[in-house]
Symmetry: C2
Subunit: 440 residues, 2 copies
C-alpha cells in the first residue's frame, strides 16, 4: 500500500511600499471611497492634495465605491463639501450606475417592472438611467400574523423582469418571500448591487447591515445566485473598459479592503495598492497569504501621507519601565504624568534600525513604545477629527491628546500614543508612516 | 518535474428496500413529520396504521420535527385530529423543546432576557419550559427612513444573554441590526432552532421562507455561527440519548430529506430510512453519492404502503402507439379516450420483469407507460386529498381522475397516470409501491 499526501507551500510575498514617483507612472487611478479618501465625512490626511496632484498631472481619476445609497448628484455634493476638487459625476462609479447602464443597454427592460429591495435613491437612479419601473420600494410588513392565511394572500400578480437586491432598511419577511417567489419564475433575473454585509459607520462599535444582508436572505430562500455588480466582481471593471476605455496595465486601484478592493484589482488586471487607513491591516494580508488567497494580496502598500502633512514631530522611545507598563489597564492621570517623565528621559530609538531587526526578536521583548504626533485640522472640526482619527489607527492606543487653536486656517492636535500590539506593530507603523528625518 | 493528480472513486451503494419485518426489529422509531407522516393536514397513506402497529408492538415512537412554530399542545391536537393514536407530548421532539431544555439546565439563564427572532408560540415554549424572558417578538419596523439618524437612535440598552433565530414572519431590518449588535458583545450566545430555508407548504409552487432565512441574514451581518438545534445537527440526538435513553444501534429514523433527516440519522448512528413521499427522490440519492456526500445517503428505503391500503387495482401497460404519444402536450378529451382504448387492448407488463432489466435499456425506448390506481379516502376530503396526492407523486403526470362516493366511511378515486420521466421512473415506482400480486 502506498499513500500520498499533498503539501502546500505558500511563498510569502509581502506587498512592497510604492513610492509617489512610481505611483505617478500610472495613467488611471481608481480609489475606494470610505477608508481610503475619507472616513465618514472627514477626508483622510493627504487625500485631497494627492487627488489634486493627479488632476494637475492629467491623470484619469475614478472613485469606485460599492455604496449605492446615494444618487450621483448627492455623491458629487458630498465630495465637493469635503474639499475634493475635480471630481464630478463622470468620475464616480457605483454598482447602481453600472447596473443601470447594463439594463439600459438591454432593450427588453425598457419601461418594464423590476422588484427592488432597495432604497429611494437607488430607485431614482435605476428609473432615470435604465428606464425601468421599480416596484416594491418602501415599507411592506405583516401587521398581523395570527394565522397562516398570509401564504394564500400574497400578491404575486405583478410580473417583474428581475429582482434587484441592495441595502434596504425596510427589508422584511414579506419582501423576501415575494422576491423568492418571483425568482422561481422562468426568466426572472436576479441582480445585486453589491454584497457588503455591513457599512463602515461613524461608530465602529455599531454594526449597520448592508446590501449583503438583503441578498443573503434572498439567496438562502430562493436557492439562486445573483449577478453582483459591486467589487470584487467584474461588471464595474467591464464598464470602465467599455465606457471609459481604460488600459488595465496602466491602472492602479487604491483600497482598504482585501476582500473587495484588492481582489477587484487583482482579478481585473489592475495594480492593487492597499491603504492602511481603513478595514484591512498588514496582519490581514499575512493571513490571506497563509490561506492561499493570492487574489486578495495587494501588490503594493501606499500612503498619501508625507512628513510635512502628517506629522510635524515624530518621536519614538523605548520605555525602560518594565513590568509596571504591561497590560492595557485604563490610564489614570497620575500614570500619564509618570509615562511622560519617562519618555523625556528615556532611550531614543531610530526607526530605521528597527526595520533591520526580525519581527520575532522585536516581539520577544516586553517593552512598550510611546510616540508623539502632531496633526493639523480645520478649525471647528475638533470632535469629528478626533473621532475619525481613532478609526484610522485602530491598533494604537491614545494615551492623551492636547489640542491647540491657531486661528482661522488650522488647529493642531498633539497626541501621545502607546503601541498596543507590541514591536511588530511599531515596526509596521514606522515603516509606512515615518521618514528617518522625522525623528529628532 | 513530477506531477501528481488525485482521483476520487465513488463506490455507489444504493439504499436497499427494507421489509416491514426487518423494520420491526428496531426498538426506537423516529419519524420526520411533514412528507413522512403527513402532507399538510393529510396523513400519508399507511402512516396511521404503521404507527399503531408500532405501539401495539411496544416500540418507542418519536416525531422528530424541525418545525418550532407550534406549541406541543397544538402539535398533539393536530396529530390526534388527523387520526394518529398514542402520540402525546412526550413523543414529539422539536428544536424548540430541546433548546428550552438546554437553557433550563443552565442556571445562569433563569429569568434572563433573550432576544428572539421568532413567533409567539416559540416564545411561549421558551418562557414556560426554560424560564427565560423573550424580548423582541412581534413587529419592529422603521416606518420612516428619510435620514440616517436611525443608526444613532437604535435602542440597544437591554442586555440579552442570547440571540435566538427561528421562523419570524416579522423579520425586519431593525431586528437583524439589533441581533447583530447584541452578538458583538462578549458572552452573548447565538442559537438557532433550525435552518430550513423554506417550509413545505400546501402549494408546492409557493416559496415560504423558514427559520434558515432569519439566521442567514443574522449570520451574514454578525459574522457569527449559531449553535443549531434542529436536524441535521446533534442536539436533538443528544437530548434523546440523555432524556429518553435511546440506544442508537436499535434506533431507526424515517425521513424524506437527505440534507436534514438522513444526515441527522447517519451522523448520530441511527439507521437511516428514506421515505419517497416528500422532498428527496432516488435521483437525489444518486446525486449525493456522486458528490461524495456519504452522510446524506440513506441506508434503506421504506414505504408504509401495501397492496391493500394503497391500491386496489394496479395495472401497468406498455403503450404501442409510438410517436403520437410522445411529449407532454396538454391532454384533450378526445386523446384521453384514445389512450384508454389502447390501454384496454395493450400489452400487459409484469413489474418484476422490469426490475431485471438495466436502467439504460429501459431509458432507450420511446414508449410511454400508463397506469390505473384506485385510492380510498375519507368522505368530504376530496379536494384536500387530490391536492395532497399530487404532492406525493410529483414525477407522475395525472391524465385523469374519477371519484366515486360510496357513503359514510370511504370514498374512492380512480386515477389514470402517465409516467413522465421515462422507464427509469416507472421502474422505481413499481419497485417501491407495487406487489407482484397487485397486477391483474
Amino acid at each position: 500500500m502506498f499513500s500520498f499526501e499533498s503539501f502546500s507551500v505558500f511563498i510569502l510575498m509581502p506587498p512592497s511600499k510604492i513610492s509617489r514617483e512610481d505611483v505617478l507612472k500610472y495613467d488611471t487611478f481608481l480609489f475606494d471611497a470610505d477608508g481610503v479618501l475619507w472616513t465618514g465625512d472627514i477626508p483622510i490626511s493627504g487625500a485631497i492634495d494627492f487627488v489634486a496632484t493627479l488632476f494637475r498631472a492629467g491623470k484619469s481619476v475614478f472613485i469606485v465605491s460599492n455604496n449605492s445609497t446615494k444618487t450621483l448628484d448627492q455623491y458629487v455634493e458630498k465630495v465637493a463639501r469635503m474639499g475634493f476638487e475635480g471630481l464630478f459625476k463622470k468620475n464616480i462609479i457605483t454598482p447602481a450606475i453600472v447596473l443601470s447602464a447594463y439594463l439600459r443597454d438591454r432593450a427588453e427592460y425598457a419601461g418594464q417592472p423590476v422588484y427592488l429591495l432597495g432604497m429611494e435613491n437607488l430607485k431614482r437612479t435605476l428609473e432615470s438611467v435604465a428606464g425601468v419601473r421599480c416596484i416594491g420600494v418602501g415599507p411592506d410588513h405583516f401587521m398581523d400574523h395570527s394565522s397562516s392565511d398570509f401564504i394564500f394572500n400574497l400578491d404575486l400578480s405583478l410580473m417583474p423582469k428581475a429582482v434587484i437586491c441592495s441595502y434596504d432598511a425596510h427589508l422584511s419577511y414579506p419582501k423576501i418571500m415575494k422576491a423568492a417567489n418571483f425568482l422561481k419564475r422562468n426568466g426572472v433575473e436576479f441582480f445585486a448591487t453589491n454584497e457588503d454585509f455591513t457599512f463602515p459607520g461613524p461608530n465602529p462599535d455599531l454594526v449597520i447591515p448592508g446590501a449583503g444582508c438583503t441578498s443573503a436572505a434572498v439567496r438562502a430562500v430562493s436557492g439562486r445566485t445573483p449577478i453582483v455588480f459591486g467589487k470584487p466582481h467584474k461588471p464595474i471593471a467591464n464598464f470602465l473598459r467599455n465606457h471609459e476605455h481604460i488600459d488595465a496595465n496602466k491602472t492602479i486601484m487604491f483600497g482598504d479592503r482585501l476582500d473587495t478592493d484588492i481582489q477587484f484589482a487583482n482579478d481585473n488586471g489592475f495594480t492593487s495598492c492597499l491603504m492602511l487607513t481603513g478595514v484591512s491591516s498588514l496582519e490581514d494580508v499575512e493571513n490571506a497569504e497563509k490561506r492561499g488567497e493570492t487574489n486578495r494580496v495587494p501588490k503594493h502598500v501606499f500612503s498619501f501621507l508625507s512628513r510635512l502633512t502628517f506629522s510635524t514631530t515624530n518621536l519614538a522611545w523605548k520605555d525602560e519601565g518594565g513590568a509596571a507598563e504591561k497590560g492595557g489597564e485604563p490610564v489614570s492621570k497620575g500614570q500619564q504624568q509618570g509615562w511622560i517623565s519617562k519618555l523625556l528621559t528615556g532611550q531614543q530609538m531610530n526607526p530605521s534600525e528597527w526595520q533591520k531587526q526580525s519581527h520575532s526578536s522585536l516581539l520577544s521583548t516586553s517593552e512598550n513604545i510611546y510616540e508623539f504626533a502632531t496633526h493639523n485640522y480645520h478649525p471647528g472640526e475638533k470632535e469629528r477629527y478626533l473621532d475619525a482619527f481613532v478609526l484610522q489607527l485602530p491598533s494604537i492606543e491614545l494615551v492623551g491628546s492636547w489640542t491647540v487653536s491657531y486661528g482661522k486656517t488650522k488647529d493642531q492636535a498633539i497626541h501621545l500614543w502607546r503601541h498596543t500590539k507590541g514591536y511588530k506593530d511599531v515596526d509596521r507603523f514606522v515603516f509606512f508612516f515615518s521618514e528617518e528625518s522625522a525623528v529628532s
